[in-house]
């Protein structure tokens, strides 16, 4: 399969002849249009749409750069003082009209510029330079996230002015609701919602699509602020959609909470809700969960992560039997599904994939709902609910009390950890030594490193609360993890795996060490560097013939 350049060349001619490349016209366009994050695929739809050509790729930033001293009005019309980000029109005029519009206005401009010897795009005869199959690169354009950091910067910016003068915060500059009676959008304090609740992916119910809104609102605002010579957000495509530039947006630390009257903690239990409503002590289903809302706010990018359809409580849609608003997903299902990041279990499982956790957890069978330790979350004891707490404060007190107790538990768990002298300093693994000498395993050092990572993480320390929970990362299935049996007790020394799929001793050792190292990103020693762990013996080969 190695080829000298000359045979490659011959092959090229051969295949080129075979494929008759000369008759296929679109090569040069393809490379040009491969596209960055600013590539817009113009593909008109609507009545009478006949697609004789593939859509046109439009490199937006290239155009803004070329028209450097001009503003958006070169291409975009304004309505009520704001730009409409359609090309040269306020509203779509139908397939044929828009097609003509694009062809005339694009090509005319290119023509004028090329006559002036300015850089210009394709002309009338160069259809395929715009219309290529490969316009747009889905990987190049990344979505921008209005995370808490970015949100806060908008909140406190002095360049942004609230809709009505005199308001303390900038909230009303963006957040609004549609008032059906007034037939216009109004701002209601304390009822700020996520944009996506109303602005869906496509134009629905007379409401602009999320994409349109994001561009028209954000860009117009940035543009107007900038035109006052103030520091403003970007107006070019790449700033919000290019992966590297997105990563460069500074992230604030210790961001104050968003203020929307949200609770610090919540007692989650639907049966308790019902019991409270009917003032009757109900038969208890399962112990309620105290949810630390304040803590979780800091763990997510924005409210929308959990509040995916409204800012109401989860139970308002996900009722005990489900509702049509929740598409009949019950609360218990919503909280325990492992496929959605919005559920408690789904999000917590996702956290196990982080580098700190996956060293041990990637090798463990993924816990299912039934395997979970229910009491870890459903921890409010029954006696706290007797008599039935009355009033918001009583509820909050119960929740706070539980949250406090859990924090104390976490603290004591750290203290309860297995003592250093119980952990062997170094273990030599040499049961199978043949080609290589045994490996020296710095046992205590590794336990210390893992413990440190657990303590740094609230979720981890909440769940690793047993004396020797950490030990079971490697010494799995061991009855007393603090004094585990030898690995060879279960893993056959015969180098073969057991019929039940249990690995043999060699496989068990290597996959345990290597998987953990790879998962945690500890690339030294490399998994394939045998001599980093083992000294080579004189025996050059294993007993194999």
């Amino acid at each position: 399969m190695t080829n000298t350049p000359s045979t490659d060349y011959q092959k090229f001619i051969f295949i080129a002849l075979a494929a008759v490349l000369l008759l296929v016209p679109q090569n040069s366009a393809a490379s040009q249009n491969a596209g960055g994050p600013d590539m817009i695929q113009i593909r008109l739809t609507g009545a009478g749409a006949k697609h004789e050509m593939p859509g046109a790729g439009f490199p937006h930033d290239k155009h803004t750069a070329a028209l450097k001293n001009q503003d958006c009005s070169v291409c975009h019309l304004t309505e009520k003082g704001e730009f409409v980000f359609k090309f040269q029109r306020i509203q779509d005029g139908g397939y044929n009209a828009d097609k003509t519009l694009y062809h005339e206005k694009c090509v005319n401009c290119h023509q004028r510029r090329s006559e002036k010897n300015l850089s210009a795009g394709p002309l009338t005869s160069q259809c395929r330079l715009c219309h290529s199959q490969t316009g747009g690169n889905p990987d190049a354009a990344q979505p921008v996230s209005m995370d808490r950091s970015l949100h806060y910067r908008h909140e406190i910016s002095s360049a942004i002015h609230p809709a009505a003068p005199g308001e303390e915060t900038n909230c009303s500059a963006c957040h609004h609701q549609y008032d059906k009676t007034l037939k216009k959008t109004v701002y209601v304090k304390g009822k700020e919602d996520a944009c996506r609740y109303c602005h869906k992916p496509a134009f629905t119910d007379n409401t602009r699509s999320f994409q349109t809104v994001a561009h028209e609102s954000c860009l117009n605002c940035h543009y107007q602020i900038r035109s006052k010579n103030q520091k403003a957000g970007p107006t070019d495509c790449a700033a919000c959609h290019d992966a590297t530039r997105l990563a460069g947006i500074p992230k604030l630390k210790d961001i104050p909470r968003i203020k929307r009257n949200q609770p610090d903690s919540a007692l989650m239990s639907l049966w308790l809700n019902e019991a409270r409503a009917s003032k009757k002590p109900s038969r208890q289903f399962v112990n309620p969960v105290a949810f630390n809302h304040k803590l979780h706010e800091t763990k997510v990018e924005h409210c929308y992560v959990c509040h995916h359809a409204s800012m109401e409580t989860c139970g308002s849609c996900h009722t005990r039997i489900g509702s049509d608003k929740s598409q009949w997903t019950r609360l218990d299902q919503a909280m325990h599904t492992d496929v959605s990041q919005r559920s408690c279990l789904g999000c917590h499982l996702e956290k196990l994939k982080s580098k700190d956790c996956s060293g041990c957890h990637a090798q463990m069978v993924q816990p299912k709902f039934g395997d979970a330790k229910c009491a870890k979350c459903h921890s409010i004891p029954r006696e706290w609910l007797e008599p039935l707490p009355e009033g918001k404060e009583a509820w909050a007190r119960i929740a706070d009390r539980d949250i406090r107790l859990r924090a104390e538990n976490r603290q004591s768990a750290t203290n309860r950890q297995i003592s250093q002298d119980q952990i062997p300093e170094e273990v030599t693994i040499d049961v199978l030594a043949d080609q290589y000498k045994g490996a020296k395993f710095p046992h205590r050092k590794i336990v210390a490193a893992l413990s440190e990572r657990i303590q740094k993480n609230e979720l981890a320390s909440a769940f690793h609360d047993g004396t020797a929970t950490i030990c079971s990362g490697c010494h799995h299935h061991s009855m007393d993890p603090a004094s585990p049996p030898k690995c060879a007790a279960c893993h056959g020394i015969s180098k073969a795996s057991e019929p039940d799929g249990r690995p043999g001793l060699k496989g068990a050792y290597h996959s345990q060490c290597n998987t953990c190292h790879q998962q945690m990103g500890i690339l030294k020693p490399a998994a394939t560097d045998c001599t980093a762990c083992h000294k080579k013996t004189d025996q050059t080969s294993s007993k194999m013939n």
Partner: protein
Amino acid sequence: MEHLTPTPPALTTGRDTVFTPFNIVSGIIILIGCVITVLRFTRGIGGVSNLNDTNPWGLWIGFDLYCGVALAAGGYVTCAACYIFGLKQFRCAVRPAVLTAFLGYGLVVFALNYDVGRPWRLPYPIFLSQGTTSVLFEVALCVFLYLSVLMLEFSPVAFEWLNWKRARYIIGKVSMVLIIFGIILSTLHQSSLGAIFLITPSKLHPLWYSGYLPVYFFISSIFAGMSMVIFEHSLVARFLHDKIDAEHHLESNNVALGFAKSAAFLMAGYIMIQIIGIAIDNDWKYLPTRWGLWYLIEIIGFVAIPAILYAIGVRERNIKLIQRTSLWAVLGIVLNRLNVSLIAFNWQLPLNQRYFPSFMEIMTTIFIVTIGVVIYRFVVTRMPVLYAHPDFPDDH
């Protein structure tokens, strides 16, 4: 026996000196061929060819075997026309066609000696270990039997030349059996050569891969054979016209007209079944691609157009046009066989993993073709192929 043949002027000058342009060129080629032969059997197949593990078959199979067999189809087609369909006017075309077929198959087997790893084991599949599930087994069996049959079919010519009357008489007795055997065997392995690739649906481009591959190969071999006979006659008429007796000369035009007519109609049918094949496998989506373009060039450019030209030639009794078209049609068959066996094979591999024949592979192929031409020339200038033997008139 030389005195029996009409003495050719070309040959007389040839006798004076061995260094005719033809002899010099073919001599050089054969010399190079011999050198490559030595290299092949001292350095291995890899030493002379660009074949590799991913592209195990190259020019030697794609051209020497696939095209060789297709173009040797004239033998059975002419025999069938003359003796089965009773079209006696093709009788004069039988002997040249059988000679071409015999040479063609002989050279195919000869070429295989270069391509297979251990050529002396070529009889193994027939005599030692029969891999009955292999299409190649069937091809091997058929080629082996058909080559034997062709040898016997051709032997009367040699016997007449040598004037072995008794042997000539005996072979004449069984000629009909031989002809029927020949037709059956040809049918089978012309189609089996297509069936060889039935096992590679994942490697051959869908436009060429079809469950109908054997049928395509069989049908196309018929008009390949016819075109080859017409083409060969036009060559013979130009370069060996002094070897042709009056009867052959007269009839060769009828042969051209008759075969062109049948070939045109068969080609139309062939195009039809190609389209049906695409429909059956729902391969339409490949047509607007580059491979589709290449496929259309093969089907339209090298089947449909020759078919139309043949048709025009037949209607206007334009022998020149028919003869020119026959070359086109022959090239079309070569293209088709190369497409199936080489070009559209392994089509999904990147360019740097594709195969292109080495210089020595190409030279080997030219060498083998040259041998064919030399032997053909040797035979027709000496043996009663293009004319009736005065001692054995009107036999067969």
